[in-house]
Amino acid sequence: MMFAQILWTQTKWTRAMVLGFAALAFLMPVGGWNLMASQAGGTSPEGFIMGFQLVGPLAAFIACLSGFLMAAYPWSLDHAANHVYPLSLPITWPSYVTQRFVAGAILLAIPAVALLVGCLLALSFIALPPVLHAYPVGFALRFFFATLLAYSLSFALQYLGGRRAAPLLLGALIAFLVTGVVLQVLGLEGLQAAIARLFLQWPGPFAIFVEGWRLVDV
């Protein structure tokens, strides 16, 4: 009952966002492949590959953005009243936060499903080698996990960091950039690149945003 209401409010608050991202996710493969296929001279596997070169990074960006916004918006509504309402409900804070998190995570599946449907639809126009037939499912799953990671990070920062979340994030970013400049002055720029690799390359925690989106990653 409680969770149903939390899910319902989450749906009401973010439905426009969810539908918008779902539409984008659906159109990405269809539009991307059509565009590339027409440039490559028909619905060919080459067009399909080129389409993915375009769609892949865009999908990573949309996953990141949707995850961040889907966590930030409901939080901002609670935050507007200093979280007085959830804190006054007869439910522990961890329980409330968990239910809010799960409700948002469920809704995140909608753009991923839309992406899968878009991929399958786009596939139906092209004669692909059998070995590539499973790719759309993997692509949609990757999109879902990337969205979930961005959502979890944003959610954790907002709910655990509270009003300090934005300054913390900004501070970390500035510290990273300043460190880069200092290291460059000291002739140690390789260290920053190593740190970036540590986070952005497999098995780094944010590798999913960077790697493996294109059909052929080189």
């Binding site: 009952m1 409680m2 319902w8 409010t9 009243a81 007085v84 804190l87 007869p90």
Partner: protein, 301 residues
């Protein structure tokens, strides 16, 4: 019978400027407890501490026999809370807010909610963000009353409401208390409003509870005395001296708390004479209490 709220040696601090200090308070079960104090005296902070929304630095809080903040969710299941400002989600309608709210309360009374919604003339499809201040106040009160709570904690529930809405809200509250025998903790700086409905009073100032007494005592126990040949010392006085002011060479004006007619003898023994005893209305009593507390705290400093 246990107390509905029991706070001992509560302490809390926000930065260097504001602190709740050594706050001890007892709200008897079934009482309507008026929590008075000027703006910024710490009333809302005390309420938030009491409901487990912020953790205390020191001291103990028990609400409906539940230790706070550890078991605040258990206590909150039995408490109807109306905060100072609208806390509900602005992008839900009145009907959606009711549905959301009732999901969290086992004893939520749908029929009562519907009755109060009609009585308060709240439209079901109206967005909460579009409600006027009075309507928002009525919606929060309606939700709190529909929970069938044993304890109502109301933080300035009528502040900023027009007299008609204020009367509607207060009469719904009084009816509820009559029928449910609930305890009410009502914070306000509107002294006359408290006078009408409360049977206990606690007065906050500068983060301290400076007085806690039955309303009857508050109403009749604070007097302004015109004293002739007033004694310099007030050792062993049977009352609390809130303030004294020189009127003429011989006469002084004293404001005292806990006054009883037989206390004239104390003045006679000290060689003084009381020329006049004036009743203070509740607002004057409140102001004098605050003045006395501030003078005393400056003397201590």
């Amino acid at each position: 019978m246990t107390d509905a709220i029991r706070i001992r040696d509560l302490a809390w601090r926000a930065g260097r400027e504001f602190a709740i200090r050594d706050l001890s308070m007892t709200v008897p079960t079934g009482a309507i407890y008026g929590f008075l104090g000027p703006n910024g005296s710490g009333k809302t902070t005390t309420i938030r501490l009491m409901l487990g929304m912020i953790p205390p630095a020191d001291g103990t809080i028990e609400v409906l026999s539940h230790a706070i903040p550890r078991f605040c969710h258990r206590a909150l299941a039995r408490i109807g809370y109306v905060p100072e400002k609208l806390h509900l989600y602005g992008n839900l309608t009145v009907d959606e807010s009711i549905r959301f709210h009732r999901a969290f309360y086992e004893n939520f009374d749908n029929e009562e909610a519907e009755r109060l919604r009609r009585r308060f003339a709240l439209r079901e499809d109206q967005l909460v963000s579009r409600l006027s201040k009075g309507e928002a106040g009525k919606l929060m009160m309606m939700l709190a009353l529909s929970q069938r709570a044993e304890l109502l904690v109301l933080d300035e529930p009528t502040d900023g409401l027009d007299p008609v809405v204020r009367r509607e809200v207060l009469s719904a509250l009084v009816e509820y208390v009559d029928s449910k025998k609930a305890t009410v903790f009502i914070s306000s700086h509107l002294v006359h409003e408290q006078e009408r409905i409360c049977d206990w009073v606690g007065v906050m100032d500068g983060g301290r509870l400076i007085a806690e007494l039955p309303m009857q005592e508050f109403r009749s126990g604070i007097k302004r005395l015109r004293v002739s040949q007033a004694p310099a010392a007030r050792d062993a006085a049977p009352f609390a001296l809130l303030s004294r002011e020189e009127l003429t060479i011989h006469d002084e004006e004293w404001v005292v708390r806990g006054w009883q007619p037989e206390m004239r003898e104390w003045f006679q023994r000290a060689g003084a004479e009381i020329r006049e005893v004036q009743d203070l209305d509740l607002e004057e009593s409140f102001v004098e209490l605050l003045r006395g507390a501030r003078v005393n705290s400056q003397e201590v400093k």
